[in-house]
């Protein structure tokens, strides 16, 4: 042999003046054939139960010596099913390969390590993976070329993991991962992963349609988009997220970190398109459909349009469980002196449904004018020696039963020109609608708290967890300490279901009045008849304006300010409600003598307060 192999491919370097007569054979076998496989040749390499090593071979004047382990090939097609992780060893000399790891695994998947001779390898190939690898002077490394359509007018139709042929073997994964931020001296941000469909092409004659971005999870699985802790977003001019084959679409923001520090969950933001142009149109509406039927629309003005009923606990009227929270109803009087130490019954003296009590000295309770959009307020005027004042309302079982076992929100407007602490306390009755007296309450405390108030009327609110046992009626009491002077003002008191303090529930005056009259009302008596003699009587049903909570107590007759008083031939025992059986069903008028007998212009207070 009178030639030596080249450094990388072992091609023949013929010594000058040698190989006379066989020079052409050496070139054919040692150079031409090898150049052919080194540039375009593919070698099928079966890797199954053992590692495989390819080595450079060299042609001679008599043979190419190219075989199944010749390393000079350009393309290596890996076949066979590996029974364990395997290594393909290649010459430790400058060379690049295109490796198509088309082999599989039995019981795997098992990785295939590509290593230079004498090395253990620095990377692996997964089953089905294709890669360009090159020797870097030490070992083989994987070159990951960018896949880009720039300058290539050809569709890249798929990057697809391999589907194994072995039963029960998982398909190979395809991962596209942006680069991690640097963490050597300061934390860098991770690289963004961007999937962008092509924009529509435009011509003078018209424009095309932009491409869609499609992300599809395997059947039965979720399509997840989540940053850590960055946001996940899907946005495009005309793109859509579409579930296939009846699948659901769930958009879930990231949870807060599960760590020792408190962290918030991520927001989900849906942004409609903005209007553009020299004369902008209307911003896009947020539309929710069921099938092809529109169910809800929020237009660019923020107005919501619902096709059918709205089922939400806290948005609309009659959410306030208190009656007369706005202090507009005052059937009894607009001002009254509250006697220190008096009963709750005596405390129902001004605005309806709210009782007032005090200790130490008398206070004045009055319905006063509000300011701005508030028409009325309840004002307590303190006095020397006052030690405590309370304002409370008892809510009937029938109107609070559903609050049991839920969260309710108490809200109230308060000002106090003297004191800065107002305590609220919520109770439930021990038995249905029976709360007891101030001296002997029969109620169980639910919760209590305080509002720090000022002389400026301000809205305060708090959440109350109502126990499941609280099906018997609920009472809320606001108290202050020594209101020895100044005024304490409250209004817009609301107790509503849910954990959000919503706007005050203003109800029509007549409706609110009727609600209050279930507990207190003035009953007018206007009767007349022709008596046959002394002691003759006329009975009539008590003319209630609305049905009362229970059989009411009746106060002494008094002049009805709305009707002129006229009395003729009335009996000495006067005119009173008569309790018939268990209901106050009758009122009776008695005559002094024969002849016309009538009483007009009188009324009686009927109270069925709690």
């Amino acid at each position: 042999m009178s030639y030596t192999p080249s450094t990388n491919l072992s091609l023949p370097l013929i010594t000058t003046g040698t190989e006379s007569g066989t020079w052409g054979d050496v070139v054919d076998n040692g150079l031409t054939q090898y150049l052919d496989i080194a540039i375009a040749g593919g070698l099928s390499v079966s890797i199954t139960t053992a590692n495989v090593t390819l080595s450079n071979t060299a042609g001679t004047s008599s043979a190419t010596n190219i075989g199944s382990t010749t390393a000079q090939y350009a393309i290596l097609n890996i076949t066979g099913n590996k029974t364990a992780a395997r290594t393909l060893t290649l010459p430790a000399s400058s060379k690049w390969y295109f490796i198509n790891n088309a082999g599989g695994s039995t019981g795997g998947p098992f990785a295939l390590t590509i290593a230079a001779s004498g090395r253990s390898g620095v990377f692996t190939l997964a089953d089905g993976e294709r890669a360009v690898v090159a020797y870097n002077g030490t070992d083989y490394v994987k070159i990951t070329p960018a896949i880009t359509g720039a300058g290539v007018n050809t569709d890249i139709t798929a990057i697809t993991g391999t589907q194994p042929t072995t039963s029960g073997t998982a398909g190979s994964a395809v991962a596209i991962t942006a680069g991690k931020g640097s963490s050597t001296t300061s934390a860098g941000s991770g690289g963004a992963l961007s999937l962008t469909a092509g924009a529509a092409g435009t011509l003078a004659t018209g424009s095309g349609v932009g491409g869609n971005v499609s992300l599809t999870a395997g059947a039965g699985n979720s399509l997840n988009a989540a940053g850590t802790p960055g946001s996940a977003s899907v946005s495009a001019g005309a793109s859509q997220i579409a579930g296939q084959n009846g699948g659901n679409i769930t958009i879930t923001a990231t949870d807060g970190y599960n760590s020792t520090t408190t962290s918030s969950g991520g927001n989900v933001t849906i942004t409609t398109g903005a209007a553009y142009g020299t004369t902008p149109g209307t911003n896009g509406a947020l539309i929710i459909k069921s099938g092809s039927t529109e169910r809800m629309r929020i237009n660019s003005g923020g107005n919501a349009v619902f096709v059918n009923e709205i089922n939400t606990p806290n948005t609309f009227s009659f959410k306030n469980r208190f009656f007369n929270g706005a202090m507009q109803i005052a059937q009894r009087a607009t001002s009254a002196t509250i006697t220190a130490g008096s009963t709750i019954a005596a405390g129902y003296s001004t605005v309806d449904r709210w009782y007032v009590y005090c200790t130490g000295a008398n206070v004045t309770a009055a319905q006063v004018a509000g300011t701005g959009a508030v028409k009325n307020r309840l004002q307590i005027t303190g006095a020397a020696s006052v030690t405590a004042v309370g304002i409370g309302q008892r809510i009937e079982q029938l109107n609070s039963y559903d609050l049991a076992g839920s969260t309710a929100t108490l809200s109230v407007d308060i000002s106090n020109s003297l004191l800065t602490t107002v305590t609220w306390t919520a109770y439930y009755a021990n038995t249905a609608d029976t709360f007891g007296t101030l001296a002997s309450p029969t109620r169980t405390q639910i919760a209590t708290g305080t509002f720090t108030v000022t002389s400026t009327i301000t809205n305060y609110n708090t959440q109350i967890s109502i126990p499941s046992a609280a099906t018997t009626g609920i009472e809320v009491v606001f108290t202050v300490g020594a209101q020895t002077s100044g005024t304490w003002v409250v209004d817009n008191i609301q107790l509503e279901k849910g954990s959000i303090a919503t706007s005050f529930d203003y109800r029509p005056y007549g409706t609110e009045l009727a609600l209050c009259q279930r507990y207190f009302q003035w009953v007018s008596f206007n009767l007349g008849f022709t008596a046959t003699g002394a002691g003759a009587s006329l009975g009539t049903s008590v003319p209630y304006k609305v049905d009362m909570r229970t059989v009411p107590s009746f106060a002494t007759l008094s002049a009805d300010p709305n009707v002129a008083q006229t009395v003729t031939n009335n009996g000495s025992n006067a005119f009173s409600a008569t309790y018939s059986g268990v209901s106050a069903g009758l009122a009776a008028l008695y005559s002094n003598t024969a002849g016309s007998c009538f009483v007009y212009g009188y009324r009686s207070a009927a109270s069925a307060e709690l």
Partner: protein, 59 residues
């Protein structure tokens, strides 16, 4: 101060609670356990008190 009220000699179905010392103002309270005034009267009775007897009011 409470006083029973009876109609035509029947068992009292109400009790009158005087709210002024001159007894010119009162509340007539039905003997109904759901009425809170009656509940208060009942506790007053449980405290060992006794109401004034009823006048027989015609009805």
């Amino acid at each position: 101060m409470y006083k029973l009220i009876s109609y035509s000699g029947e068992e009292p179905k109400a009790v009158r609670k005087y709210v002024t010392e001159d007894k010119t103002q009162w509340w007539d309270i039905p003997m109904n356990p759901a009425n809170t005034d009656y509940q208060e009267y009942f506790r007053w009775l449980e405290g060992g008190n006794t109401p004034l007897p009823a006048d027989n009011v015609s009805a």
